[in-house]
C-alpha cells in the first residue's frame, strides 16, 4: 500500500498564481488524476510531489507505512512529462539503461538492469523500437517510451504529466490500458486537461482551477460534479454511460 499525504501545500512557480492544497491523500490501487484547464497548476502539483519544485507545506510518501526520506525520492518517485531529445542521438535501449541509474549507480550495468529494461519494453510494447533514437519516434511511440523511462527504475509512485497529449485515438486507447495495468501495485497520479480522458481512465478525479482544488470525486460521484466541471471548463458537458462506465463528454455547440 502506497500513500501520498499532502498538507497545507503551497507551490509558487514562475508567473503562475501558485497552487494551494490544504489536504489531499492519495492511495495506490486505483488511478488518481488531477484534471483542470490549462494553467490550473496541475504540473506544479505533480512536480512538487516529485520533489522537483520547492514548496511550503508537507508532502509525505509512505510505502507500507515506511516513510520515504526526501533524499531517497529519486529512487521511488518518477515524474514523466515531455522530453526534448538531444541532438546527440540516444537510442531507446540506452535511454532506459540510463534511467536505471538510481538502482545501480556503479560504473557498470548489472544483469538486473538489462532484465528490467527487457521486461519494461515488453510491457509497453516497445521492444521493436529499442535501437531507434528518441528523435526518430512518432508521438505515440515516444509517449510509451517516456512511460517506460518512468517505470524502468520500478518506482512506487508514478506521476504522469498530461500523458494523453499529442496522441491519436488508437494510441490513447493503448495508453489507457497500460496505465490501468500499472495502477495495481504502483500509485499512479496523472494530470490531464481533458475531462473525457479523466473520466475514462481514472477512478478518482481531483478538479483543479486557478491553483485551488475545486472538488475531489470518485468516478461514481460524477453525476453530482457535472455542474462544477462545466463551470470550471466553461464548456457544456454531458454525462453518458458507455458499457457500464460513466464518462464526461464535451458538447461542442456552435450556437451558444
Amino acid at each position: 500500500m502506497i500513500v501520498v499525504e499532502i498538507r497545507d501545500l503551497n507551490v509558487v512557480y514562475g508567473q503562475n498564481p501558485g497552487v494551494t492544497v490544504e489536504r489531499l491523500t492519495l492511495t495506490s490501487g486505483r488511478v488518481n488524476c488531477v484534471v483542470g484547464p490549462n494553467g490550473a497548476g496541475k504540473s506544479s502539483l505533480l512536480k512538487a510531489v516529485a520533489g522537483l519544485l520547492t514548496y511550503r507545506g508537507e508532502i509525505s510518501i509512505r510505502i507500507n507505512d515506511v516513510e520515504v526520506e526526501k533524499n531517497e525520492l529519486h529512487r521511488y518517485v518518477s515524474y514523466v512529462s515531455d522530453i526534448q531529445p538531444s541532438s546527440i542521438k540516444v537510442s531507446v535501449r540506452e535511454t532506459l539503461l540510463y534511467a536505471r541509474y538510481p538502482c545501480s549507480p556503479g560504473f557498470f550495468y548489472s544483469d538486473r538492469d538489462f532484465k528490467y529494461v527487457e521486461e519494461t519494453s515488453r510491457l509497453l510494447g516497445i521492444s521493436h523500437l529499442m535501437e531507434k533514437s528518441l528523435s526518430e519516434l512518432s508521438s505515440g511511440e515516444l509517449q510509451r517510451v517516456l512511460i517506460a523511462i518512468g517505470i524502468v527504475k520500478n518506482p512506487a509512485l508514478l506521476l504522469l504529466d498530461e500523458p494523453d497529449i499529442h496522441l491519436d485515438l488508437y494510441n490513447k486507447t493503448r495508453l489507457i490500458k497500460v496505465i490501468r495495468g500499472l495502477a495495481g501495485e504502483k500509485l499512479v497520479f496523472l494530470s490531464t486537461h481533458d475531462p473525457s480522458v479523466a473520466s475514462t481512465l481514472c477512478d478518482r478525479l481531483i478538479l483543479l482551477n486557478n491553483g485551488r482544488m475545486q472538488g475531489d470525486f470518485g468516478i461514481e460521484e460524477l453525476n453530482q460534479a457535472l455542474g462544477l466541471f462545466e463551470e470550471v471548463f466553461k464548456t457544456r458537458l454531458a454525462l453518458v454511460e458507455v458499457e457500464g462506465r460513466r464518462m464526461l463528454i464535451p458538447v461542442y455547440s456552435v450556437s451558444t
Partner: protein, 320 residues
C-alpha cells in the same frame, strides 16, 4: 547500437590497448630507432609525449563539453576557451614581461574559464539552441584570436614561438610541462570514472536527470569547469588546437555506435591523443623536408574544419 554490458566494454578496452601499443611501436620505429644523440632523443620523447597527452586532454574535454551541453557541435575551441586562454597567457607575458610557467598556467586557466562563461551566457541569451552555442563561441573565439594575434607581435622577443602557438604547435616541449600534463591527465581519468554515467543522464534533459538523482546544474558546472580548465592549460602551453576536441567525440560515437559516455569519453580521449601525435609526427617528418615546420594545430584544424562542416550540415538538416 549495442547495449554495453561488461564483456563488450572490456572488448573496447582491449581494442584501445592494442591501438596504444601500435602507436607506441610506430613512434619508436619512426622517432627513436637508430638515434645516437641523447639531446634529440630527449627532445623527441617530450614532444611525442606532449602531443599525445595534449590530444588526450582535448579529446576528453571536447566529449565532456558536448555531453554536458547536449551539443555535438562544441569543443574548447568552438566555445572560445582556446583563444581566450591563449589571449590571457599572452597578455600576462606582455604585461609582466616574463615567461614563467606558473604564470602561464594561472593566466590561461583564468582566461579560458572566463571565455567559457562568456560564450555560455551569450549562447543562453541567444536562446540556447545548438547553433546559438556555435555562434556565440565563434564570436568570442574570433575576437580573442584577433587580439592574441596583435599581442603576439609584442611578445615575440620573450616568446619567440608566439606565432606557432596561434595555431597550436609542439615545437617547444619544455621539460617543466610534464608534471602539469600528467596531473591534468590524471584529473581527466578520475573525472571520467566519476562523471561518465552522470553525463549520460544529462543527455536525457534536466528534468529527467534531476528525478534520477543527479542534479543537472551542479553536474554541468563541475563538468564544464574540469573540461574548460584542463583544455585551457593545454592551450596555454601549446596554443589553440582547433576542432580536434570536436571531431574526436563524434568519431567515437560513429565508430562504436553509442551515446554512452563511458565509451565516448574514453575513446574520444584516446583517438584524439593518437590523432594529434600522428599529425605532429607527420608534419615533423614529412612536411618539414618540403616546406619547413608547420604547426600541428594548423594541420589538425584544416582536417577538423571539414569534419565540422559535415556535422554542421547534418545537424542543421535534421533541425530544419
Amino acid at each position: 547500437m549495442r547495449s554495453l554490458d561488461k564483456t563488450y566494454f572490456l572488448k573496447i578496452l582491449l581494442l584501445d590497448v592494442l591501438l596504444l601499443v601500435t602507436a607506441f611501436i610506430v613512434v619508436y620505429v619512426v622517432d627513436f630507432h637508430n638515434v645516437n644523440s641523447r639531446i634529440i632523443e630527449e627532445y623527441r620523447f617530450y614532444r611525442d609525449t606532449y602531443a599525445f597527452l595534449a590530444g588526450l586532454i582535448l579529446g576528453f574535454s571536447g566529449s565532456v563539453l558536448q555531453a554536458s551541453l547536449r551539443n555535438p557541435l562544441v569543443d574548447h575551441y568552438v566555445l572560445g576557451i582556446g583563444s581566450t586562454s591563449l589571449f590571457a597567457a599572452y597578455l600576462a607575458i606582455a604585461l609582466l614581461g616574463s615567461v614563467d610557467l606558473v604564470l602561464i598556467v594561472v593566466s590561461s586557466l583564468a582566461g579560458g574559464l572566463s571565455g567559457l562563461a562568456l560564450s555560455l551566457s551569450l549562447a543562453n541569451y541567444l536562446g540556447g539552441s545548438e547553433v546559438a552555442y556555435v555562434l556565440a563561441g565563434v564570436g568570442v573565439a574570433s575576437l580573442f584570436s584577433g587580439l592574441s594575434f596583435i599581442l603576439s607581435y609584442y611578445i615575440l622577443q620573450k616568446q619567440p614561438y608566439a606565432w606557432a602557438l596561434l595555431l597550436g604547435s609542439f615545437v617547444t616541449p619544455l621539460k617543466e610541462y610534464l608534471p602539469y600534463l600528467v596531473a591534468a591527465s590524471l584529473i581527466s581519468l578520475i573525472a571520467y570514472l566519476q562523471l561518465a554515467r552522470k553525463l549520460n543522464l544529462l543527455l536525457l534533459g534536466d528534468i529527467y536527470s534531476k528525478q534520477l538523482g543527479v542534479d543537472p546544474k551542479t553536474t554541468r558546472l563541475v563538468a564544464n569547469l574540469i573540461a574548460g580548465g584542463l583544455s585551457s592549460i593545454v592551450v596555454g602551453f601549446f596554443g589553440t588546437i582547433g576542432f580536434l576536441g570536436l571531431v574526436a567525440p563524434n568519431l567515437a560515437r560513429l565508430l562504436f555506435k553509442t551515446s554512452d559516455n563511458r565509451v565516448t569519453v574514453l575513446n574520444s580521449s584516446i583517438l584524439s591523443g593518437i590523432l594529434l601525435l600522428a599529425t605532429d609526427l607527420a608534419t615533423r617528418k614529412v612536411l618539414v623536408t618540403k616546406v619547413g615546420e608547420i604547426p600541428a594545430g594548423g594541420v589538425v584544424s584544416a582536417f577538423g574544419g571539414v569534419f565540422f562542416l559535415l556535422i554542421l550540415l547534418r545537424e542543421v538538416k535534421s533541425i530544419g
